[in-house]
């Protein structure tokens, strides 16, 4: 033996060696776990860190009216961002950006000092401001051009079109409904950068081309929209009404030509609050509530009690089943008793003896209560459902409200009587118009729609409107109904809706807003022309007019003015020509 400790030396060396071996083995397992099991996670995070993604915005599709006028287009704007590691004078950058972009120092500082390869400061900066910032040539400040949604007609059709958010995503109206068509597919340029954000040469950049959004062709007619908006504002002002809604539709196919709900808002500045005293002190939540009210489209988002316009539905059901004919005789003493409840006619002294046509012209409540009672709850409910009133219309706008109707089991004769002349339930104006259109157009249920087709960048067309709707009323009944409604306008309560030279059919309504007794009324009129072959149908709803509030006096003239203007414009011939 050369030295005496050799044996346990060797033993201990081996123990130490085996410990090291074990440690390496453990570390290898750990390494394998990181590289294989967690590898995807870490390499994804690493790629996020390395690749500076410069997004190439896709052009958002235009929204056009039926004549090809641009309702929603795109305008060049700038996006200002900072590259953290390239900034040489952060204080100067913060100062300049605060000043030019009108942002708080705190907001800018947070982004300038954030350790990231690229941080967006503000988008949708107008070209002039962007150019001014670019000319200052500050290190680490990038000004990139892109597009912003632009609405050439400002507030026109605002409730229909809706608007887009900062990332060009649809927020309301058609913009959100057809967002998937309009938005396209953004492209990307992916470049590998080092930790300072500098692009690394020699590593090829990846480029993914953007796909432009499809163009949306609508059935809207900007001229009709403009005119309807104008008269809506006129009547709102003259009657000091809260709001006025007008929808103009082609009753044959459900295409909507105009949808007005004044007051409208500026689509190019949708977040501006209406100037009211105290609006500066609102909390963020109150502001949002206020904006939601401003953006609300009461044509489809709100329901109302349709009142006498709904007698069209009762008449159609009555005529279709034969419980009533044009010649059926009625007597109105000014009221009618239903199960011990006395329901008044709007003419308290009574309409006396009248046939069904005259009863409709007079808008006599007892007549329609009688028709409803003759139909009975089961049959009335059946028609209510068959006419499509329990479902939504399916209009291509977001947030359509549903019908608020009695449950069939809860309906007694009193409820039936009130429903028969348009009270005690609620539907949207859109539903009222669509159902009336379906009843007078020959009896086919239409689906109201604004979008007609989309055309993508490869000229590929997608037709949006559904095919022909199901039959809900016979041709004959529809024709009879048109005749009666024509007489309502020519000689009855709707005579203010008469248009010289045209046969117009229609029905007026005056309904109380709920709760009853508040003294608030809704005056409405539904009209269509030509009465024998309806090409256009419009509903006008004046919400809470002051002074005279009868539909015949307030709303019928609105539709008359509208028709006087648009019938010749639409090329609809006068009957005597």
């Amino acid at each position: 033996m050369l030295f005496q400790n050799k044996v346990y030396h060797r033993r201990n060396l081996l123990i130490f060696y085996l410990l090291c071996f074990g440690a390496f083995l453990g570390l290898f397992v750990r390494l394998a776990y990181i590289m294989v099991c967690e590898g995807d996670y870490y390499s994804e995070r690493a790629t996020d860190l390395h690749e500076r993604e410069r997004s190439i915005k896709a052009d958002r599709g235009l929204i056009l009216d039926r004549n090809g006028k641009v309702l929603a287009g795109n305008k060049s704007v700038c996006t200002v961002s900072v590259v953290h590691s390239q900034i040489s004078d952060p204080e100067e950058v913060i100062r300049v950006l605060c000043e030019h972009l009108d942002l708080s120092e705190e907001y800018v500082r947070k982004r300038v000092e954030k350790y990231s390869s690229m941080e967006r400061i503000k988008s949708n900066v107008d070209i002039e401001t962007g150019d001014r910032i670019r000319e200052l040539k500050l290190d680490g400040v990038k000004v990139d051009e892109d597009y912003k949604r632009y609405y050439p007609y400002g507030s026109l059709a605002s409730k229909v079109l809706g608007f887009t958010g900062s990332d060009n995503q649809g927020i309301l109206g058609l913009e959100v409904k057809y967002d998937s068509y309009l938005k396209g597919e953004p492209g990307k340029i992916l470049t590998v950068t080092d930790a300072k954000g500098l692009e690394v040469d020699g590593i090829s950049e990846r480029r993914i081309e953007p796909v432009s959004g499809s163009v949306l062709y609508t059935g809207l007619d900007i001229n009709i929209q403009a005119y309807a908006t104008q008269i809506a504002y006129q009547v709102m002002e003259s009657k000091q009404a809260d709001s006025v809604s007008i929808i103009v539709m082609n009753p044959q196919n459900g295409e909507i030509m105009a949808m007005v709900d004044v007051p409208e808002y500026d689509l190019n500045n949708p977040y501006a609050l209406p100037e009211e005293p105290g609006s500066e002190e609102l909390t963020a939540e109150q502001k949002q509530e206020c904006l939601n009210r401003v953006w609300r489209n009461s044509c489809i988002n709100d329901t109302y009690e349709p009142g006498s316009v709904f007698k069209i539905i009762t008449a159609a059901a009555g005529l279709e089943t034969g419980v009533v004919t044009c010649d059926s005789r009625f007597y109105c003493p000014g009221y009618i008793v239903v199960d011990d409840r006395k329901i008044r006619c709007h003419k308290t002294q009574g309409h006396g003896s009248e046939d069904f046509v005259l009863g409709t012209m007079n808008s006599c409540n007892p007549v329609f209560i009688n028709v409803g009672l003759s139909l009975g709850i089961d049959r009335y409910y059946e028609y209510f459902e068959k006419f499509g009133l329990l479902k939504k219309t399916g209009v291509d706008l977001p947030g359509e409200a549903g019908t608020i109707m009695h449950k069939k089991d809860n309906m007694g004769n009193v409820e039936l009587a009130t429903v028969a002349f348009g009270q005690s339930f609620q539907i949207t104006p859109m539903q009222m118009l669509t159902t009336a259109a379906s009843l007078v157009n020959g009896g086919k249920r239409v689906t109201p729609h604004i979008g007609v087709k989309t055309v993508d960048q490869n000229s590929q067309e997608t037709v949006l409107s559904d095919g022909e709707g199901e039959r809900i009323l016979s041709e004959e009944t529809s024709e009879t109904l048109r005749g009666i409604l024509e007489q309502v306008v020519s000689e009855g309560t709707g005579k203010n809706g008469k248009v010289e030279g045209y046969l117009v059919g229609g029905k007026t309504a005056t309904s109380q807003t709920l709760p009853r007794g508040s003294g608030r009324y809704i005056a409405s009129f539904l009209g269509f022309a030509p009465a024998d072959n309806p090409q256009v149908m419009a509903i006008a709803i004046v919400n809470n007019p002051k002074g005279v509030y009868y539909g015949g006096q307030v709303a019928a003239p609105v539709v008359r003015q509208l028709f006087e203007n648009i019938l010749p414009y639409m090329g609809i011939q006068e009957y005597n020509q």
Binding site: N5, H9, L13, L27, G39, R45, L49, H50, V192
Partner: protein, 388 residues
């Protein structure tokens, strides 16, 4: 006659042992290290100095000096080493203090180097301390032999590396080097001890202390004490990936994006300034990114083989002192390699340990090669037929 006859026989049988496989493993590690230093540092070097090979060249000089030193060290007669042992201990104690003088060089927020006058090279005294602890412990342990199991001697031996470690920790604020110095000394004591119950007790109590410290760090939330902060960052590095956990997270990104076969030599992206000091303590993460699990595993196998050779040499050394010197060098390389890979894989809290022979760092490679010279010197005294 007999001796003459014996000599002849030795000569015939290629008498002395030379460990070619150890030399091959060492050279392979050095060359591989140089390649990886160039790969990991060229981008940053070009950005900072306009010369992609800046770090590579400095390391090349250090390796050349180290190889010369290795050859010299392998030829030093053992008797000289015995004399020089105590002196080297005192010299390194003084060198560490020199860091506090104007000769001290500060880098990366730590004052751990002394400038060598007239050159652009710096010396890290902690590296000198490591070799001196190996020599002193080997000398003392070979003198007391089996008496080390007596408590008096045992405590005395265990205390030998402590003054230098304390100096390294308090003067240069370098916890990891202090730990390595202590570890080298203690491993050597362990290897020359007939008993081992007390080591098992030490390991268990060290584990208990570590558990308590981790609990304290976690409950403190990492505030106040930067070492506690590192422990918290170790447990959840991504929670503070821009702060304390930055280096760890970047290293993990590098390792994780390597996959089984890696991105290919030179293809690392994390070395583009993402991993701080990619050529230094974190070089193993770049190896993993470029060469994958395969490359990382290969490096580990190289170390395992290197340690195996050293164990064989220590086991067959002609005398106690030589065996202990080799054991010390083996302990040094083993502890440092394990700690480095454990840090890079976030298996233990982050502390600055370089990977022997591969990480950039002149002092480290020069003194490691000098230590390897001692190992070759011991190996050269082994009679080949006695090797088993």
């Amino acid at each position: 006659m007999a001796t003459q006859k014996g000599k002849n026989r030795r000569r015939e049988k290629n008498e002395y042992f030379f460990d070619y496989s150890l030399l091959f493993l060492l050279l392979f590690l050095l060359v591989f290290g140089m390649v990886m230093i160039y790969s990991a540092s060229s981008y940053e070097a070009f950005q900072a100095y306009g010369d992609a090979a800046f770090y590579f060249k400095k390391q090349l000089v250090a390796v050349a000096v180290g190889l010369v030193g290795m050859v010299i060290a392998s030829r030093i007669p053992q008797i000289w080493l015995r004399y020089v042992a105590y002196i080297s201990y005192l010299v390194s104690a003084l060198l560490i203090l020199l860091v506090l003088t104007p000769l001290g060089v500060e880098s990366h927020g730590a004052r751990r180097w002394i400038g060598i006058p007239g050159t652009s090279f710096n010396l890290q005294p902690a590296e000198v301390a490591k070799i001196s602890v190996i020599l002193v412990c080997a000398l003392l342990l070979s003198n007391i032999k089996g008496d080390v199991k007596k408590w008096k001697y045992w405590f005395g031996m265990m205390a030998v590396p402590l003054p230098l470690a304390a100096e390294i920790f308090f003067v240069t604020r370098n916890l990891s080097s202090a730990i390595i110095v202590v570890a080298i000394g203690w491993v050597m004591v362990f290897i020359s001890s007939p008993t081992f119950l007390r080591y098992a007790v030490m390991v268990i109590s060290a584990g208990a202390v570590a558990a308590v410290v981790i609990r304290m760090a976690v409950s403190s939330g990492g505030d106040g004490n930067f070492r506690f902060g590192r422990i918290v960052a170790w447990l959840n590095p991504e929670a503070d990936s821009q702060g304390t956990g930055f280096q760890t997270v970047q290293g993990l990104y590098a390792i994780g994006s390597g996959g089984v076969w890696g991105k290919g030599l030179g293809e690392s992206i994390q070395k583009l300034d993402f991993v701080p000091e990619a050529q230094n303590d974190m070089i193993f993460s770049i190896i993993c990114e470029e060469l994958g699990l395969f490359g990382g595993g290969a490096v580990m196998i190289l170390f395992i083989m290197l340690l195996w050779r050293m164990m064989r040499i220590a086991s067959n050394a002609r005398d106690n002192f030589s065996a202990l010197v080799v054991s010390g060098v083996m302990a040094h390389i083993a502890v440092q390699a394990v700690l480095n890979i454990a840090v890079v894989t976030n298996t233990i809290p982050n502390t600055g340990v370089s990977l022997p022979f591969i990480s950039y760092g002149g002092s480290s490679v020069v003194f490691l090669l000098a230590e390897m010279g001692l190992v070759f010197g011991v190996a050269g005294k082994i009679v080949k037929r006695e090797m088993n």
